[in-house]
Each structure stands twice: as structure tokens, then as C-alpha cells.
């Protein structure tokens, strides 16, 4: 029928109904046609089959809803043995202990200074190798934090300050877990991160060498990041590395200035101690080759009588401990260290051995 000829006014109900029915069926037909076109196009373009999936394997992924198992049908709590590799130190760590490990590994958080303090306390005991292994590991962590093995030293130090109020907040964690975490770490070998001297400029090297030992390890080819009193290396080594890196003119350790003082031998204990300490820093016979350190390349050990080692050890450990502790890192001045050790260590040190060191001076 032509549309122009239609007029609704003259129609009765049945005709209207018939019209409505027609319109309705036309609409339905058009809709069906649309669907047909969609399918036709999908088949012709080739993407109709995409909805098909492999029914058998889909069954594996059905959700399980039963008590005692999770949605995959697995029993709870079977994941105790998961491990992961730390991105920082590349060691394999148990997953559930990863966070505390990472905290120490990156040298941040509350525990680093605790470890350092522990180390100072235990290093006073002149103990056996295994304990010193432990110390050195902790020491390494301190050094990571103090110096920043990623050369972010300055940044880390400034970040540390905002963190310190955090430390004084009330303990948020479970106490039991915290103490466990300190003991549970399976550090079994000496891990030295050190600094790669090749990537540093002369100015950086110079400033580094005023605050840390700097001796280049044969194994890792990296600079030792411990303090200038580091028990692992001798002063001779330290001087050698400075000559190597900065040239012959820079061979002086800060202690070399006090070489003059050694000539002024004073009878009083305090001054004996003071000058001996200062002199020790620059002598060929280094007090740093103490028995407490593990195998090092010190060959001047053989020259010294045993009792001398003891005293020097006592001296050195405080110096070393002083260097490693505190949030200021190893940049604390030599004189203050000396002063500190003077106050603390004086009663312990037997005076008689002192002249024997001087006896060997040449």
C-alpha cells in the first residue's frame, strides 16, 4: 500500500489492530535481518569461530566452591616453601621472609642500626671467626646503608632523617616476629658489596677515601666501604690504594699529619694513648691486623709480638666500632674517635705493652 494514501481517521479498531500487527511484524523481521547480516559478515570475514573454545581444557578452570579448598581446588597453607630471588642481592630467599630480608638488604628500616649496635657490642669480645663473620655481614649492611652501594649515598642519608621519627613510633609489628627476623637470616658467607672505583671521578674518590678504608679487594675488584680503622685491611694497603687511585701526592691518610706527634712521647697515660693512636694510623706496623679479622692480606702480622696484637686489637676495635656505628656513618672525625676510645678504653688497656710498640718503631 502506498503511504501517501493512508489516513488513520477513517479506520475502525480491527483495521488499526491489523496495521499495528503489520508494523510489529515488520520491525521483528528487520531485527532478525540485522542479526542475519551480523552472522553472515562474521562468517565471511572469518571471525565467527573465535568464540569457540576447547571445552575439555575449560573444565580445568571451573571455580570450586567447597570447604577446605580454595577456588582452584587446592588445600590451604601448602605454600610455605615458595622462594624468590632478591632483585638487590640476587640470592634466593623464602617468599614469606622476603620483606624483612629486603629491608636489611636495601639498608632501610628500623633494624639496620640495631644490627650495627649489636656488632659493636660483640666486636669488643675479640672472638672467633664465626662470630666475626656475622659481624662483617651486619657491617656490610651498615655500610650499604651508610655509603649506598648504588651511589645514592647522599640521597639515602637525607631520606634517613624523615624515617627516624618513624622509628620512635609505637611498635606496629608483632614483637615476636621482629626478634626472629634478626636471628633467622641465613647469612653464611661474607658478602661484600663495596664500591666500583672505576666509575668514580677523582674528586669523588678523594672524598670517599677520606672517610673509608678503600682497599680494593682482589676478588671483587671493589673498594672496601668500611671505616679507616677497618680490621680487614692494613694501613699499608690503604696507603697503597690511595697512591694507586689518586697519585703519589695523595698518599697521605689524614693520620699522616700526626706522624710528627709520635716524636713527642709523653709519659702521661692519656697522651701516650692519644699519640699512639694517632701514630698507629700511619705506621708500617698497623694495629689493624688484629686476630679478630678473618684472612686478610696483611703480612706485617708476622713482625709483631703477640701481646702487641692484643692491645692494638683493643684499640682498633673501638676505632672500628666507632667508625661503623651511628647515623653519621664513617665520616666522624678521627679526633673524636680517638677521644671516645680514650675515655672508654683507657682503663682496659695495659700500659706496659705500650713501650714495646714504640720499641719497634723505626
Amino acid at each position: 500500500m502506498k503511504m501517501e494514501d493512508m489516513s488513520l481517521s477513517g479506520l475502525d479498531n480491527t483495521k488499526l489492530e491489523a496495521l499495528a500487527q503489520d508494523i510489529y511484524s515488520d520491525l521483528v523481521e528487520d531485527a532478525c535481518l540485522g542479526l542475519c547480516f551480523e552472522v553472515h559478515r562474521a562468517v565471511k570475514q572469518g571471525y565467527f569461530f573465535l568464540d569457540d573454545t576447547d571445552q575439555e581444557s575449560m573444565k580445568d578452570f571451573e571455580i570450586v566452591d567447597q570447604p577446605g579448598v580454595d577456588i582452584f581446588g587446592q588445600v590451604y597453607n601448602q605454600w610455605k616453601n615458595k622462594e624468590c630471588v632478591c632483585p638487590n642481592c640476587n640470592r634466593s630467599i623464602a617468599a614469606s621472609r622476603f620483606a624483612p630480608h629486603l629491608e636489611k638488604c636495601l639498608g632501610m628500616g628500623r633494624n639496620s642500626s640495631r644490627i650495627a649496635n649489636r656488632r659493636i657490642a660483640s666486636s669488643n669480645n675479640m672472638n672467633n671467626k664465626s662470630e666475626s663473620d656475622q659481624e662483617d655481614n651486619d657491617d656490610v649492611n651498615d655500610n650499604d646503608w651508610s655509603y649506598g652501594s648504588e651511589k645514592k649515598a647522599k640521597k639515602r642519608k637525607s631520606d634517613k632523617n624523615p624515617n627516624s621519627p618513624r622509628r620512635s613510633k609505637s611498635v606496629k609489628h608483632k614483637n615476636g616476629e621482629l626478634s626472629n627476623s634478626v636471628n633467622a637470616d641465613p647469612y653464611k658467607y661474607n658478602y661484600n658489596t663495596g664500591i666500583n672505583y672505576e666509575t668514580l671521578g677523582p674528586d669523588e674518590l678523594r672524598s670517599l677515601l677520606t672517610t673509608q678504608c678503600g682497599v680494593i679487594s682482589e676478588h671483587t675488584k671493589k673498594m672496601c666501604t668500611r671505616s679507616q680503622r677497618c680490621p680487614q685491611h692494613t694501613d699499608e694497603q690503604r696507603r697503597a690504594v690511595r697512591v694507586f687511585l689518586l697519585g703519589p701526592s695523595a698518599s697521605s691518610l689524614p693520620d699522616a699529619d700526626t706522624m710528627v706527634e709520635s716524636d713527642c712521647y709523653d709519659a702521661s697515660d692519656g697522651q701516650v694513648l692519644m699519640s699512639r693512636l694517632q701514630w698507629d694510623g700511619s705506621s708500617d706496623i698497623s694495629p689493624s691486623d688484629s686476630a679478630s679479622s678473618k684472612a686478610s692480606t696483611n703480612n706485617s702480622d708476622s713482625k709483631k709480638p703477640k701481646k702487641k696484637k692484643k692491645t692494638s686489637l683493643g684499640l682498633n676495635s673501638t676505632g672500628g666500632g666507632g667508625g661503623g656505628s651511628g647515623s653519621g656513618g664513617g665520616s666522624s672525625s678521627q679526633s673524636s674517635l680517638v677521644g671516645l676510645s680514650n675515655r672508654k678504653k683507657k682503663p682496659k688497656l695495659p700500659v706496659p705493652p705500650a713501650p714495646s710498640i714504640y720499641d719497634n718503631l723505626n
Binding site: 503511504m3 571451573e62 580454595d70 577456588i71 614469606s96 628500623r110
Partner: protein, 522 residues
């Protein structure tokens, strides 16, 4: 030529065929409006005008029966009655177009064909017509390219994410008090828009080092949709977050909300490579108008109006926000009455004696006008002096994902404790009463129900809930997340179990994530 096309169109593709085809589509297929059609016919071409007065079959006069138009001349014919077929045979015009859906029929192939160039024109004209009709943009499904089809054909083992499928769900190992991180990760990986962004590989990394958190996030989605059943170990994520958000670093229990904000911040900073470029190809470098995915999804605008009590001048500022922190009853600051000057029981029709506090109550309190008091006078620009004022917060721009943070941890000077008041939250939330334009009706603290029932823009659905069990010092975070419309799952670190809607709604609630129900194209 596409595989679904045919060679017979080549005879047609001569001279000004594109324009002719466009006219056909514009006038007879996708007419923007009847008037437009009439107008176009009259204006464009006199030839067309004379003959194309109305779309009826030139042989029988019917306008139904699948009318087709010949592409080569002005002829309309029914398909069902084969009138167009006759015309094709007589005139050797091999192509005709279906006026209802715009499909091109080839009489030689005797089938509808899909030619790439012609389809391109058809699509463009359709879009134009929709715009004219006021329909706007319509969603078009993805279609694979030839290469993609090939790949798919060679790899028949496909995973379809049906409603009963575990793909998309995965447990997370607790790395040592990292349950707060696990819950936020679950919430983020189940944010539909974020999931779609990462699964369609939209992140283009421009960071030199491989410490981009967005890349790690992308990797996380791959892990979640890998189909693996054992829990994932998010150790790299932890490492990256600690590297980029130093204030969070440290092995101790932390706040999930704090982690969420820090994570969003780092993701936002690392998303620089994905910001849209302006017409010159330069990146839009305006920090106020970042268009990275994080900002598109999570950033809303909070309007703060300070009204001077003397001159009634209003000073308005709009600040971006990623979450709304809501005070709860039971804290040291009083919750009721919601509006100033009323007593505790009923104020302007609001009664708090009936039943538990709802999320809507908290939102009402958040957006109430607040007298700033005589000790906090604001310098009024109109009066040029310090005057008392009222301040009111409203939502200027609602984000696509709204995160509500119930302030359950009180750290006031007097005490530190956890507020365990139950707050009931709905599955569907309408934010219309809290948006800036509704503010005028609430200037005096009057809360009026808006009449706009048909406005769908502000309707939200709950999709993730993060809960905290325990005390301020030590506790455990778990989360409920929604997958597949009405399926909820409880995520307790490595253990994912099915949960009922009742479990979710009865839970205490600490962080509530709502997603907009209707998304409009811009």
C-alpha cells in the same frame, strides 16, 4: 581487496564513486533525520531530486520487502520480489545496496560482499548520522585483522572468561606483613577499566631503567590472567614500591590506604609515556590535566566553597582527589548532628536513631556545610575583612572509580584506637545528592531527595572491599572482590574462596571501591 570482497566491485570503483556512494549512504541508508534526507536530496543534486522523491520500488511501488538501491543508477527495487535482480540483469549493474543495513550485494557472486574501502565509507557516514541524531558514539566490537585471524586459527586453544572461570583470580603470597599490599593489588587488578587498559597493552614505557611500576603492573595482570593456580609472589612489586616510595619502606605492618595512595602516585608518575598528545604531536605537559590512565580512572575533583556569613560571597576552590576519607561515629569528634545548630536526635528530618550508620550518612556528613567558628575567620574578598564563614565540600567531578576510606584508625592527641563501628554500605550507590550542583538545595543543611531518577551518570556499583581485622598495632587485611557481575570472592593472601554478597555487605569495611555503572565517551 579483503577476503570477503569480490572482484566485481572494480568495475564500480571508477570516477567519483566515493562521493556517489557517500550520497547514497547519507540520503537513503543512514539518514541523520528525515528532514536532513529531504534537504540533502534537494540541495545536492538535481538529478537525484527528480527521481528520488521517495524510496519506493520502481516496479511495484512497495517500500518494504528489503528495498535495494542500484549503485550505478537511480533505481530502487524490492529484493524479496526480485525486482532489483531483474534490473541488475537487464542493465548489467552488478551492485546494489540494502537500504536498511547498508550491505552491498553483488549479483554475480550472488551474495553480500564486504569491501574494505566501501565499508570504510559506510562506517564514516553512519557515525555522522548518529551524531546528527544525537546518539553520539556507539561502541563497536573488536575485529581481528588478517594477521590476527591467521594467528588465532593456528592457536585453537583459547580461554574464554565465562562466569564460572577462575581465570583472572590469583592468590598472592604474603612476603612478611604485606597483606596490606596484597589487598590493594587485588582491588586494582579487578578494576575493570584498569584491567582492560593493561590487557590491551596500552602502556608504552619510556623509562630507561627497568624500574617502571606501570610495567610491573602490566606484568601483574599477565600473571593474573595466565591461568596459573599457584599464588603469585609479588616480590618485584614490593621492591619497586619501596624504591619509589621510601616512606613506605620497612618491614612492619602498614596501612592499606596509605599504600593505595602511594601506589597510585608512583603509577601516575611513571605513566608519562601514555599521556595523550595534542595536535602538534607534543605531549600535553600540563600537570593539572594529566590524562594518564590513573588520572582518567581515579581522579575526581572536590569543590570547597567558603561562604562569608556577612556578604554571602562564595570563594570556590577545586582540588583533585583519589579517595574520600570519611569520619565515623564513635571517634572523638562528634558525628551527629550532621548540620550545625541542631540537637542530637533529629535535625531537619534526619534521624540517627534508626539502625546502623550508612555510607550515605557518612557522605552527607562529609558534604555538610560547616561553620568554621569565630577562631577560624577567613579573609573575605567581598568584605575585605576577616569574617566568620561556612565551608562546604561537594563533588565537582566524580571519578570513574570512587574509593571511600572509612577512618577507622584514630590517631588523635588523646588516644589511638581502632573504631569498629559497623557502617552499612550498599551494593549500588547514587552520588547525585553529593555533587556540586545539588549543593544549592543544601545551603541550610536541608537534605532534599533529588528528583533526577533518570540521570544515570552518578550511579556506582561496589566492586571491592578491603577489611581489617585486629587492633591498631597488629592486624590482618583481607579483601572481597567482585568478578563477573554478581560473583564475589574473598582474598586472604594466597587463599581465594567464593563469598556470598551477604558476607561482603556484613563485613566491617575499611576501603570501599565503587565503579561508575555507565561510562560515556568524551
Amino acid at each position: 581487496m579483503s577476503p570477503a570482497g569480490c572482484s566485481h566491485v572494480n568495475a564500480y570503483k571508477v570516477d567519483n564513486w566515493r562521493q556517489n556512494l557517500r550520497v547514497i549512504y547519507q540520503c537513503f541508508v543512514w539518514s541523520g533525520s528525515a528532514e536532513a534526507r529531504r534537504r540533502k536530496v534537494l540541495q545536492n543534486d538535481v538529478r537525484w531530486t527528480a527521481l528520488a522523491k521517495s524510496c519506493i520500488c520502481h516496479m511495484c511501488g512497495a517500500h518494504l520487502n528489503r528495498l535495494h538501491s542500484c549503485l550505478s543508477c537511480v533505481f530502487f527495487g524490492c529484493f524479496t520480489k526480485k525486482h532489483i535482480h531483474e534490473h541488475a540483469k537487464n542493465k548489467r549493474h552488478n551492485l546494489a545496496i540494502d537500504l536498511l543495513y547498508g550491505g552491498i550485494y553483488c549479483f554475480v557472486c550472488q551474495d553480500y560482499i564486504y569491501d574494505k574501502e566501501m565499508e570504510q565509507i559506510a562506517k564514516e557516514e553512519q557515525r555522522k548520522a548518529w551524531k546528527l541524531q544525537g546518539v553520539g558514539e556507539k561502541y563497536s566490537t573488536w575485529e581481528p585483522t588478517k594477521r590476527e585471524l591467521e594467528l588465532l586459527r593456528h592457536n585453537p586453544k583459547r580461554r574464554k572468561i565465562t562466569t564460572n572461570c577462575t581465570i583472572g583470580l590469583r592468590g598472592l603470597i604474603n612476603l612478611g606483613n604485606t597483606c596490606f599490599m596484597n589487598c590493594i593489588v587485588q582491588a586494582l587488578t579487578h578494576t575493570p577499566l584498569l584491567r582492560d587498559f593493561f590487557l590491551s597493552d596500552r602502556h608504552k614505557c619510556e623509562m630507561q631503567s627497568n624500574s617502571c611500576l606501570v610495567c610491573e603492573m602490566s606484568q601483574l595482570f599477565q600473571e593474573f590472567y595466565s591461568g596459573h593456580r599457584w599464588p603469585h609472589i609479588p616480590f618485584r612489586l614490593l621492591h619497586l614500591v619501596w624504591t619509589h616510595a621510601r616512606h613506605l619502606a620497612g618491614y612492619e605492618q602498614q596501612d592499606a590506604h596509605e599504600f593505595l595512595i602511594a601506589a597510585l602516585d608512583v603509577l601516575h608518575r611513571h605513566c608519562k609515556g601514555d599521556t595523550t598528545r595534542d595536535d602538534n604531536g607534543k605531549k600535553a605537559n600540563n600537570p593539572n590535566h594529566c590524562s594518564c590512565i590513573i588520572d582518567q580512572i581515579f581522579t575526581g575533583g572536590l569543590q570547597s566553597d567558603v561562604t562569608c556569613q556577612v556578604c554571602h560571597g562564595v570563594s570556590t576552590t577545586i582540588d583533585p582527589f583519589w579517595d574520600i576519607s570519611l569520619d565515623l561515629p564513635g571517634s572523638s569528634t562528634p558525628f551527629w548532628p550532621l548540620s550545625p545548630g541542631g540537637d542530637g536526635s533529629t535535625v531537619n528530618g534526619e534521624s540517627h536513631l534508626s539502625g546502623a550508620t550508612t555510607l550515605t550518612d557518612c557522605l552527607r556528613r562529609f558534604t555538610r556545610p560547616e561553620h568554621l567558628g569565630s577562631s577560624a575567620k577567613i579573609k573575605c574578598g567581598g568584605c575585605h575583612s576577616y569574617q566568620e564563614s561556612t565551608k562546604q565540600l561537594t563533588m565537582k567531578k566524580l571519578p570513574i572509580v570512587a574509593c571511600f576510606h572509612l577512618k577507622r584508625f584514630e590517631h588523635s592527641a588523646k588516644l589511638r584506637r581502632k573504631i569498629t563501628t559497623y557502617v552499612s554500605f550498599p551494593l549500588e550507590l547514587d552520588m547525585t545528592p553529593f555533587i556540586a550542583s545539588s549543593k544549592e538545595s543544601r545551603m541550610n543543611g536541608q537534605y532534599q531527595q533529588t528528583v533526577e531518577v533518570l540521570n544515570n551518570d552518578n550511579k556506582y556499583s561496589l566492586f571491592a572491599v578491603v577489611n581489617h581485622q585486629g587492633t591498631l598495632e597488629s592486624g590482618h587485611y583481607t579483601s572481597f572482590i567482585r568478578q563477573h557481575k554478581d560473583q564475589w570472592f574473598k582474598c586472604d593472601d594466597a587463599i581465594i574462596t567464593k563469598a556470598s554478597i551477604k558476607d561482603v555487605l556484613d563485613s566491617e569495611g575499611y576501603l570501599l571501591f565503587y565503579h561508575k555503572q555507565f561510562l560515556e565517551y568524551e
